[in-house]
């Protein structure tokens, strides 16, 4: 069976928002378009891109041998406190819409959680919210 390895799956999930047509509506609402899409490791940077921004963190891969594998990804959405969360709330359906069920090859992807609005003190009090995606494929 043809498969993608975890790294390729992560790249496909990320590219969907960073550069593909399917993520264009998301990019249009970000502070600096594609430049406001980054891997979560980039949140350590001293110069974050314009807000709102979205950052992808790959999570665990669940599932035992011979079972469906679940690859968990979390998009973190950040915005300035002055925006009161309105812009990132508006981004949530766009982000969800960027991932039709079969948009990532060889598996299925769906939204499996949306976190409550919170404040990230480590990032200067930016408003944060998370959207969890689960990509499922046969092991």
């Amino acid at each position: 069976m043809t498969q993608l390895n975890p790294q390729a799956i992560t790249a496909a999930v990320y590219a969907r928002i960073k550069s593909e047509l399917g993520g264009a509506a998301v990019r249009a609402q970000l502070g600096a378009g594609a430049a406001s899409v980054l891997p979560a490791s980039g949140l350590r940077s001293n110069a974050l891109p314009a807000r709102p921004l979205v950052a992808l963190r790959p999570g665990v891969i669940a599932g035992e041998s011979l079972e469906m594998r679940e690859h968990i990804f979390t998009w973190w959405l950040y915005d300035e406190p002055a925006q009161n969360g309105w812009r990132i709330s508006g981004l949530l359906p766009l982000l969800e819409g960027a991932y039709p069920q079969l948009s990532i090859p060889y598996g299925r992807v769906k939204v499996t959680g949306i976190g409550q609005e919170t404040i990230d003190d480590a990032l200067g009090g930016l408003i944060a919210r998370s959207l969890q995606l689960t990509y499922t494929r046969r092991a």
Partner: protein, 153 residues
Amino acid sequence: MIDDFAQLERELDELTRRITAAARRGLEAEAQAMERDAKNTSAYLGMSGATRASTIAFVVDEGDDGSARLAAAYATAAEHLAGFVGHAGNAHLEPSGAVGPGEIAVVLTVPTDYIDNLEIEHGGEKAFIGPTMDKFRSRLARRAARSIREELS
């Protein structure tokens, strides 16, 4: 033909009790594995040792809200943080929440007032509660199902 409905009702109640008890046994076993996994995380380094030492997973149902185990974990966190000056965090006790009749839940938590920060900061860079739950969600369901099967076989 059923002609003793009272007897039938008693037997159904007993069956429900056995199923619920079996599910709880299975969940308790898997919760222990989940707690060990969460304690062994490398997502954060830790400063006082309070988070790792007080990470706890337990099962709650209508008759047991887990408050005794939570209180013990709180005491562990408080002990590690007593006199610690590396950060301003404290032990923090928050009830795990009630579940209704016939419901069983598994809680994975840390009784400190800074665990939320670990889960959130820098896009969940040091998060381990959420990821551990992601990892164990289906394992918990499978373990409960297996325990029920064994009880009824």
